[in-house]
Each structure stands twice: as C-alpha cells, then as structure tokens.
C-alpha cells in the first residue's frame, strides 16, 4: 500500500514537473485526438473524431517537423495558403432531426461530395493560379478528382456571404464525387499514428461507410506569412463525422408505455472494434459523450417526477437512479454554463491513457427507460426546390421556414427595438442555368414583399457562358415573427456544346447547394474558461463561436440532351440527298429519251432480253407449260461474266482488307 502511494506521489510530482517544462517551452509541435459521441433523437448515434496538429511558425521552429505532415506543410508553403477547408461528404445532414444549432452541425454538416475553399496570401492576380495548382496537388494527395475544380466554370469567389472578412477566397464544390476508402486512407496518412493506434483504429471501413452520414474534413489555418502579427504557426484540424445506426438486439424497442426505447450502444457495436489505448504521440486522447441540452432537460424532468432527485444525480453519476448508464465511470463531467437558461449540455470525459492492448476500452451506453427529445434547430429551416416544367425555363425557390422558437431574439434586436433576423444566402449557379437575377422575388408569409425592405445587401455576379458560374449573395433582414420566407429566381436552361455533355447527360445537371447563414446567431458550447478545460483542443474548438449554417439540397435540373448520334445521321441524310440529286442530274444529261423509246418499241416486238425472258418464264410458269430453254451459249456467257465480276469484287475486297485492314 505504501509502495503504491509512493508511486502515486512520484507520478503526481512527475506530472507537475512535466507540465512546468511544457509551459516553459510552449512552442512545440502538438497532436491531440478526441472522439465525441452523442445519441441522436432518431435512434442514431453521432460520432465525431477530431484530430489536431499544431506546429509553431517556421521562423522560430524551422522547417523540420516530427509530427506535422510534411505534405501539408509543403503545400502551404508552395501555394501560400492562409486557410483551407476540404470536405468529403456522403449523405445529407438531417438538420431537422440531428440538430442545426450546435457547433458540430454548423461546422461539420457539409454538402454532399467535395467542398473546397481556400484563402491565399498572394496578390490578387495570382490567386487563380494558386487555386488551380492547389486543386491539382490536393487531387493527387487525396486520390479524388478535385482537379475538376481547376476550370473557371467550377469555382467562384464569394465576397462576404460565405465567410466574413475574407479576401482572396475561392470556393468550389463537386457534388457528384463519390467518397470512399481511397479518400480516407490518404487523410489518415496525415495523422502520425494513422489508423494503427489510438482513436483512429476505430475506423473500421465497413462500419463507418455504412452510416447515414459521413463527412471527412480537413481544415488548415496558417498565418506563416503574416509578418505583422505574432505568428502562431499552422493548425491542421482533421475531423470525421459519422452518423451511425446502432445494432439493436431483439425486441425492446417499444416499451410498455408505448414510447420508443432508444437503442443501447457500445463502441464495439458501433464500430465493430474497441480502442486499444491511445496514440502514444498525442498529448490528449479523450472520448466524450455529449448529452444535448434538450435531452438533459428531458432527463431532469423525468427524474424530478419519478425520483425527486435533481441534476445532482447526473453529476454524481448515480447510475441507478437515472435513465441511462454507462459501463465506465467518466474521468470528469463537464457541464455547460449558459447564462440563466435551463438548457445546457453535459459532457462526460473518458481518458484513454490507462488503456492498452491487454485492456481495451469499450464504452457501453445503456438506456434504461424510453426517452424522447428533439435536437436544437436553427432559427429557420431552409429548403430549396425547382418550379416550372419543360426543357426551356424554370425557377429556383428557396424557402425558409420558422421553427417557431423565439430563443434567438436577444442577438438580433436592432436600433429601433424591433426584433429582426439577418440571413445570408449564398448561391452558386452553373453557367448553363441562366438565372435572371432581376426576377428575384421575396415572399414573406406568402405575400410578395418589396425587395428594398427586406434585402440589406446584395451582390450578384452573373454567369458568363463557358467562363464563370453565376454567383449570388443576399443579406436578408427579416422580422423575427415571420413564419415563411420564399425567394424565387427564374432561369432559362442553356444549351451545351455536344462535347460538353457528361457521359450521363440524361441524368440531369446539378445546381450546387445554397448556403444559408445566420451571421448574428453564433453557436458555441459555454464552459468555464478557468477550469483548465480548454486544454483539450476539441473543447476549445467547440467553445469558439461560429455562425449557424445550413446547406440546402442539391437540385437536379434536367436539360435538353441531344441525340448524340445526330451528327452522323445528319451527315448521312444530307449526303444521300446530294447523291440522289447529283445522280439524277447526271442521268438527265446523258439520257437519250427517243432512242430508248425506239428500243423499247423494238424490244416489245422481239420480246427478248432479260426482263422479257423473265416475263415469258413467269407467264410460262403461270400457264403451267414447260418453257423451251433459251439459247445456251448466251446464258453461259452471261453467267461467266457474272462470276468474273463477283470474283473481281471479292478480289478488290480482299486486297483492301489486306492493305488497309
């Protein structure tokens, strides 16, 4: 016992000593990993992997690293990237069910396919060249067709609606890009432990690609080239967000009360693997289980009615009294502090430091009674659809529907005391969908509204055929009590050159997701700053304010597709007509009508010739009489010549085949 205590004392001393050393030389490379798990209202589980590599600036630290990936460092230096975000997404984030108001959804819900944006620290005229090179480099690095973003029809330069105060930004999406393991493997290669150890070992490919939503993201911030400010080096943040359906065993889905029982889950049932210790290179290696504010309040009310216990139960982890239990007791419980509001989320922290191969970590989360709750939603629910029919023209409509909550009011009261809400809409339209921006109409609660009253700011850059896509940025100022806002834009469908159609042209053409942004409504997790909680990078990331975002659906526009064999058909028919005309003209020029008539007459009298012979044969057949054979030498001569001709043609064909085939 004494020995154990002495070891503990030693450990504590060592740890504190280590931390002192750490503070002294604060500029070192760091890597941390974390996994956040959150039960979702619709019986699914959100798993959010978060890896962060930090490197001090080159000026003080040099260009040789032991943790930071070399390829990313070289990329930043070669193309002078200030900030970059690349996401590969499969599936669509279900804003209505999985929430749209928390930091994770506003950061990690991405449009399907590939989305890339980057800002560069270069003069204005070099930005496009840098972007093109960057897309090619990333394409090679991530085994994806990001290089298709190189063409100027594929990217745009939003001014303020995508990201506030960003100059030299380029933005592009590829919504048809299929995301699979070949993109994940190079992404994992950037981690020092890859998927050999630590949390990333959980990424069993079949399990994570079976999920309902899969978004792999890489976010890079560097202020290496910023000479004025104290440079903080580079931060590479890699996240993988998956929404998984836990495997439920047996019945027990519906409880006696008729409520749907939430499925219990464990790490091994979600991923098919367990965590066998941390990645030894990471500074922090934690797993968090997050309970959403609505769930926490729901749990509190149920526990109040049933057990008369308070939030204390949750705090003290008295599992027996609660609606759920976990197999391991957390290292720490972090409660969100959010003003005077009742709703606040809870985070249970588990550290991987004490687990190893022989003692793998497998967290189990069991529900004991049915609970229903709903996630926090964004103030307006956005959706987008097409109107009109036919192959000529149509209209895009973006509808923003209020969720009927007034909890966001405090952040959006203007000078006159009237509650208002600012909404930014960012929409990129490919050039072959020719949008008439003057047809923009805004309906508030199904009434047509004057544009000037609603629109605070607008920026439109019309598309240029085969050169650049159309870009529209609108800042709307809406009254808080509005229930339904609809924006409509009319467009004509353009024609493409036959070479420009993709192989599956009949499938239709995509209009990229519009981005609806609520710049005044910021979301973050409110934690006590002084509690040394901020040490964990995932928590400090969640504590950063970020505006609420909403990506709308991708629209599919059917365009007129030509018959791709048409050029040949046209050639054939034109040539045939010309040939007919030419032939008949030539015939008309050289025919001797009177001679032919005379010959015909004489033939009638003779009744000879081939046709005559055939006719006589036929008539003989009809009459049932045997025909006297025509003069033999003539027929033999004819057949001889015929055979000769056939042989000649066959010979030409053979020679042709021999020489040209």
């Amino acid at each position: 016992m004494f020995r154990l205590r002495s070891i503990l004392v030693f450990l504590v001393l060592f740890k504190s000593f280590g931390s002192i050393i750490g503070e002294e030389e604060e500029k070192i490379e760091e890597f941390s990993e974390a996994l956040l798990l959150r039960p979702l209202p619709d019986r699914k589980v959100l798993a959010h992997f978060h890896f962060e590599s930090k490197v001090p600036p080159t000026a003080t630290h040099g260009s040789h690293h032991h943790l930071f990936p070399k390829s990313i460092y070289q990329l930043v230096h070669k193309y002078r990237v200030q900030e970059m975000e690349l996401s590969f997404t499969q599936g669509r984030w279900n804003y209505g069910r999985w929430g749209g108001y928390d930091p994770i959804s506003s950061r990690n819900a991405k449009p399907p396919g590939v989305e890339l944006w980057a800002t560069f620290d270069v003069p204005q005229h070099q930005v496009d060249a840098c972007w093109r090179n960057l897309t090619h480099a990333l394409s090679g690095l991530f085994c994806a067709s990001i290089n298709f973003l190189e063409s100027s029809t594929a990217y745009s330069a939003p001014k303020w609606s995508f990201k506030s105060f960003a100059a030299n930004i380029r933005y592009g999406t590829l919504h048809r890009e299929a995301v699979c393991t070949e993109n994940l493997t190079p992404w994992l290669k950037l981690l020092p432990c890859r998927d050999k150890a630590g949390l990333s070992a959980l990424m069993d490919r079949p399990s994570i690609y079976r999920g309902f939503y899969h978004s792999q993201r890489l976010h890079l911030v560097s202020n290496e080239f910023d000479l004025t400010a104290a440079s903080s080096g580079m931060v590479l943040e890699q996240t993988l967000t998956v929404v998984l359906q836990p495997v439920t065993l047996g019945s027990g889905m519906v409880s006696s009360l008729g409520l749907i029982q939430q499925p219990s889950w464990s790490l091994s049932s979600l991923f098919g693997r367990e965590v066998s210790g941390r990645c030894v290179l990471s500074n922090a290696s934690n797993i968090y289980v997050q309970l959403e504010p609505n769930l926490v309040s729901e749990l509190m009310t149920t526990s109040e009615t049933q057990q008369q216990s308070d939030v204390e139960n949750l705090m003290s982890q008295a599992w027996s009294d609660m609606s759920f239990e976990m197999s391991d007791s957390p290292v720490r419980l972090i409660e969100e502090v959010y003003g005077f509001q009742k709703e606040s989320s809870l985070l249970y922290e588990f550290s991987l430091a004490n687990y190893s191969d022989s003692r793998p970590f497998n967290l189990e989360f069991r529900w004991k009674r049915p609970v229903t709750w709903s996630s926090q939603l964004a103030p307006l629910q956005a959706s987008r659809f097409l109107m009109g029919s036919g192959n000529e023209r149509g209209a895009i409509a973006i509808s923003l529907k209020s969720v009927g909550r007034s909890g966001y009011a405090e952040s959006s009261v203007n000078q006159e005391g009237r509650c208002s809400l600012r909404v930014d809409v960012f929409q990129v339209v490919p050039w072959y969908v020719k949008v008439y921006y003057h047809t923009l109409k805004v309906f508030l609660d199904e009434r047509l509204h004057n544009l000037a009253d609603v629109i605070e700011r607008i920026n439109v850059s019309p598309s240029e055929d085969k050169v650049s896509p159309g870009l529209m940025e609108i800042a709307l100022r809406l009254p808080c009590d509005v229930q339904l806002v609809i924006l409509t834009l009319e467009f004509d469908k353009g024609f493409l050159h036959i070479d420009e159609y993709p192989p599956d042209a009949n499938q239709g053409f995509d209009i990229p997701s519009a981005l609806v942004r609520f710049p005044e409504i910021k979301t973050k997790i409110h934690l006590f700053e002084d509690k040394c909680v901020c040490k964990s990078p995932i928590l400090s990331k969640l504590q950063e304010e970020s505006p609420v975002l909403w990506y709308t659906e991708v629209l599919l526009v059917p365009l007129t597709t030509p018959d791709f064999s048409m050029p040949y058909n046209v050639i054939t028919i034109t040539c045939t007509v010309f040939a007919l005309y030419f032939g008949s003209l030539l015939n008309a020029l050289r025919r001797r009508i009177e001679e032919e008539e005379r010959l015909l007459k004489s033939k009638d009298t003779n009744a000879s010739g081939l046709i005559g012979m055939l006719l006589s044969k036929l008539s003989a057949k009809l009459r049932g009489k045997a025909l006297e054979p025509p003069s033999l030498p003539l027929s033999s001569k004819v057949s001889y010549r015929l055979i000769l001709r056939v042989i000649l043609v066959a010979g030409i064909a053979a020679a042709w085949q021999y020489f040209f085939g």
């Binding site: 040099g62 260009s63 040789h64 690293h65 032991h66 943790l67 990936p69 070399k70 390829s71 070289q74 990329l75 230096h77 070669k78 480099a137 090679g140 690095l141 290669k189 020092p192 432990c193 890859r194 050999k196 150890a197 030894v280 290179l281 040949y568 050639i571 054939t572 034109t574 040539c575 045939t576 010309f578 040939a579 007919l580 030419f582 032939g583 030539l586 015939n587 020029l589 050289r590 001797r592 009177e594 001679e595 005379r598 040209f660």
Partner: protein, 609 residues
C-alpha cells in the same frame, strides 16, 4: 441531237437509193458519225472528280508536324556507339630525378602508351576520356627544368620548377601538402590532372590522391614503375573514379531532368509503443549535409526535407542469433525490407514534376526485433548496418541504445538521437549518397600496380570526383535524350494517323539542337556548358514525349473518316463511273456501226461503177 438526225434518216428513206436501202441493217449500221457530246460530258465530270480527289485528301489530312527522324536516328546511334569522349589534360611531374631521365619526349610517349593500354582493355564507358587526352611531362631537378607536351596542349597549368625545393613535410601531413600543391597548381581554374613523383631517399613508396585534381608519389622508384603507376592513377582514378565493371553503371545518375535532386530523409519509428526517437534534423542539415549540398552544386541542385514517421514495421523477416546476441536479417531479405504499404515516404509535393527524389531512411527497430543487424553474404555483420537501393535511396538500421538496456524505464518519452550517433549516421548517409552517384566510399584504391590513399574531403566529394560526376551526368542526359527521342520517333512512325502538334516538332528540334551543342561543347572541353545544354536537351525531349496532346487519345481513325465521307462519295462515284463506262461502250458500238456502213457504202459505190 445525233439520234434525231439518225432517226430522221431512218424515217425518211430516200427512194432513189433502193438498193442501198436493201443492204442497210439498222441493227449493225448507222449512217452518221456517233456524237461525242454525252461522252465528253461524262468524261468531264469524271475527270473533274479525279482532279478534285487530291484536294479532298489534302483537306481531310490530319496535321502532323514534320519530325527530323533522320537526325533522331543519328543521335541515338551515336549515343549507342559511345562517341562521347571528353578531352582530358594530364600532367606528370618528376621531381629530383636528375640522373635517370634523359629524354623527356620518350617519357611522355611511354606514359601515353601505358594509358592507351589501360583504356583499350575494355571499351571505355560513356563519360570518360577514351583516347582523347594529352600528356605533359615536366622534369624538375635542382639543375634543370624541362617541359614537354604531347599533342596540342596549350601550356595550361604548367608546373613551376623548384616549388618543392625545401618542402620536406610531405609524409607528415597529407592534407597540408595537398593544400600546398593546390596553391601551386591551381587546378580549380585550369582543370589539369597532375601526378607529382618526388624522389626521396625513402624505402616504401606512398601514393596519395588528393582532394583536388592531383596525386603524388613519394619514394625511390624506378622511372618505369613510376610511369606505370602514374598511368594507372590517371586512367583508373581520375577518369573512372575507381569504378570497376559490374558496379552501378554510370548511365544511371540520380539527377532529375531539371537538374534537381530532393533528398528526403525519413526517420521511421517502427513501433512507438516501445520507444520514440527523434532527431535534431536542423543540426544534421546545417552542419553535416550543407557542405555536401554546396559541393554538389555544380552537378545538381539539391534540396533537403525531412519527416518522422511512426508505426512503420519492416516487411521482411529476421531471426534471433544467439552467438551474436542480435536479430539478423540477411542480404536476401533486402528486396522485401522496404514496406511500401506502411512506409509513407511520399514523393515531395514541393519538388517539381521532374525532380529526382532520393529517400534516405533511418529505421529504428521495435523492441521485439532489437538489436537488428544486417548479415553480409560472407557471413559477417555489416559495419554500417545499411544498404542502398539504386535510384531509390538508402536505408540505415539504427539500433537505439535503449535496446540493450532495460528499456522499460524510458518508455513513452520522446528521446533524441545523440549527436555522436547522428554524426555516424550522416557519414553513412554520405557514403550511401556517394554510392548512389556511382562513387566508391573507401579511402584506399587498390590498383594493379599500387595501392593509393584517397584523401577524403570534408565536403564529401573531391574535385576530381565531381568532374567524373559532371561527365557522367552529361553523358546520362544525352543518352536519355537519345532514347526518349528514339522512342518518340518510333511511336510516331507506328501510328500514321496520330496528330502531332507543332509544339512537339519545335521541342524535338530544339532538343536536337541542344544535344548537338552539348556534343560540340564536349569536344571543345567546356564541361559546364555541355552539362547545361545536355540537361536542356533531355528536358525538352521529355517535354515532347510527355506532351499532353500525345498523352490523350489523339487518334483520328480512318474508319471515322470513311464513315463521314462515304454516304456522299460512294453513290456519286458509282453514278459517274457507270455513266462513263456506258457512254464509252456505246460510243464504241455506234462507231463500229458507222464504220460498217461506210465500208458498205464504199463497196456499193465501187460496185455501182
């Protein structure tokens, strides 16, 4: 019209010539000449079609820039025949040989003939001097100073007599003497290879090759033996850099087409659970590798990068050897040592497309295979514990000190490789780099006549070695250029309907010009200029070969052309052809009829008389 007149004659038979009438058979005779109008018309159409045919073929012809196939063939055959011989200048200096030497000219000829013998033993590899050298001999004695040059030497770097008088420290400090000789000879600007033979009252003969472009021999030796040794040093050391047949061939120079080399250093911790080692790469870079990079600058533009990787087990097998107390992997396992699945020693993104990347890997084995040692084929343990893979790079297995100690204590903390170890490692890396460039890394050269000491430069490469590299680089570039252009011309000739852009034609032309310029510079002895132009030739040849328009499927097939034009030309040409044939036949038949009638009439007229 002709028919009308013919029918008119038929329909209106003259009554006066009733006998004639009786002899006239309308099926075989006619009274008028057959008309040529329709025949002329059809023939005109036919001929105009024939005339238009070349224009049509010209208009549908695909564009092919003319490529100088003959010049390309000439270049490649020239490169194969190994005609690239660099001119070299040698100088032999005999000091204190008062009595023995009488005829300087004979001495020069003797050296020359020995050298010829050495070079003619085997066909000289590319990048050597071949027989294209000049030898100058100087005899420096107390009393006289005789100088003689064979061939067209221009008196470059002539030995100043008497500079070695009173210099008697040549045996004590080789380095100092080397520097002294350099100050005398100034080979840097003159590029003359010198061997100095000093006759002292010494029993054993010492042969030392310096860091610059000279060597010296000290000791009593007969002139004949000195000449033999001298010739060997000239040919085997200065020209061939001590290479033998069977070692890495000089044609494989790990230098990119743009003259750039990226040295990518990777430290692989095979299992970080056991221990994590880190290196101070800055130190390695600045102190140990920077001089090499500087030294190699005339040959290649070298840049360095580093990374540390974890969880990188090797993929070959090793076994425990009790007697040696270590794990052993043999040379047979080397092809499987590099684990390409787990070792992500990626190509650099900073390097351009044509740079050559050489990987240098420091492998730290895990605890369960430590210490790990390389067994040579002769059963001994390798001193360096490393190996190279030509054109890829080198690998060193570094056994951490924790491996023999109780490693449990140091677990999970990041440790630095000590600077002594790092120095040792960098020396091995330097040796591997020399080997990758085709040079030896021993400090002794054992020849047929003498064993010479090679002084090692702190820069890693001696001046004469850099000369060898530069010559090989030029040769390799020209060889590559020749093979690339050769395969381009073969490809182009095998696909007759492939579009060739003008740009490719231009690139090929410029590449050939640069190659020619390089050849010219080689024969004139401008080695730097020839290296530059050879590099350019190779880069342009590769530009042409990898031109995007060549890479894409730019094959405009004959079938396509036929399908487009046949719907019009097939029926029309049939029409025209048939019309011509018919008219021609008809004309012949009618003409015969007319002739028959004329014969008849003439005979009739005769009979009337």
């Amino acid at each position: 019209m002709v028919e009308i007149s013919v029918t008119a004659t038929f329909s209106d038979p003259p009554n006066t010539k009733s006998e004639e009438e009786a002899d006239f058979y309308p099926n075989t005779m006619r009274k008028t000449k057959p008309g040529l109008k329709r025949l002329f018309l059809t023939l005109t159409v036919f001929i105009s079609f024939l005339i238009a045919l070349p224009f049509l073929l010209k208009s549908i012809e695909i564009y092919r820039a003319p490529l100088p196939f003959d010049d390309i063939d000439l270049l490649s055959t020239e490169m194969e025949k190994n005609h690239l011989m660099f001119p070299c200048q040698f100088q032999a200096v005999f000091v204190n040989f008062d009595d023995d030497i009488t005829a300087v000219n004979e001495l020069a000829l003797l050296i020359n003939s020995h050298m010829q013998k050495l070079t003619s033993e085997n066909t000289p590899p590319c990048g050597t001097c071949g027989n294209n050298f000049t030898v100058a001999v100087t005899i420096d004695s107390n009393s006289s100073c005789i100088h003689c040059e064979s061939g067209n030497g221009n008196g470059n770097g002539k030995w100043q007599c008497g500079v070695l008088n009173g210099y008697d420290k040549m045996n004590d400090h080789d380095e100092n003497f080397d520097d002294y000789l350099e100050s005398v000879l100034d080979s840097k600007s003159k590029r003359v290879y010198t061997v100095v033979v000093v006759n002292t009252k010494q029993e054993d003969v010492r042969v030392v090759v310096g860091k610059y472009r000279h060597a010296w021999m000290v000791g009593i030796d007969s002139v004949e033996k000195a000449v033999e040794k001298m010739a060997e040093i000239f040919i085997k050391v200065f020209v061939n850099a001590g290479k033998e047949e069977g070692s890495i061939r000089g044609e494989f120079m790990p230098i990119g087409a743009d003259g750039k080399v990226v040295l990518s250093f990777s430290l692989l911790n095979s299992d970080p659970h056991d221990w994590i080692y880190d290196w101070d790469f800055k130190e390695l870079d600045e102190i140990l590798l920077a001089p090499i990079v500087d030294a190699l600058r005339p040959v290649a533009d070298i840049s360095l990068e580093s990374q540390v990787l974890y969880h990188t087990p090797k993929s070959s097998y090793s076994y425990w050897d009790d007697t040696r107390g270590s794990y052993i992997f043999s040379t047979k396992d080397l092809p499987f040592f590099v684990n390409s699945n787990e070792w992500h020693v990626d190509a650099s993104t900073a390097a351009g497309g044509r740079s050559k990347v050489l990987h240098f890997v420091l492998y730290v084995p895990s605890a369960k295979e430590c210490p790990l040692k390389l067994q040579l084929p002769n059963g001994e343990i390798s001193m360096t514990n490393g190996f190279i893979s030509p054109m890829w790079g080198g690998i060193i297995v570094w056994n951490p000190p924790a491996c023999v100690e109780n490693f449990q204590v140091q677990r999970l903390s990041r440790q630095k490789i000590s600077s002594e170890d790092l120095k040792m490692i960098s020396e091995v890396f330097m040796g591997q780099l020399r080997q990758l460039f085709g040079l030896k890394s021993e400090s002794l050269y054992v020849g047929g006549f003498a064993t010479s000491v090679l002084l090692t430069s702190e820069k890693g490469f001696a001046e004469w070695e850099l000369d060898v590299l530069s010559r090989h680089h030029t040769c390799f570039n020209l060889l590559q250029c020749g093979t690339t252009l050769g395969s381009l011309s073969r490809l182009v000739q095998s696909l007759p309907r492939m579009i060739i852009m003008d740009e490719i034609g231009k690139q090929v032309k410029y590449s050939l010009e640069a190659a020619k310029l390089s050849f010219g510079n080689v024969s004139l002895g401008y080695s730097d200029a020839s290296a530059v132009s050879s590099r350019k030739a190779r880069a342009l040849a590769e530009d042409a070969f990898y031109h995007p328009s060549m890479m894409s499927v730019s094959y405009y097939s004959f079938e396509h052309c036929f399908a487009v034009y046949s719907p019009f030309f097939l029926p029309v040409s049939l029409h025209v052809l048939l019309a011509v044939i018919r008219e021609w036949k008809r004309y012949k038949v009618e003409n015969r009829k007319y002739l028959a009638w004329r014969v008849k009439r003439e005979s009739h007229v005769k009979s009337c008389r």
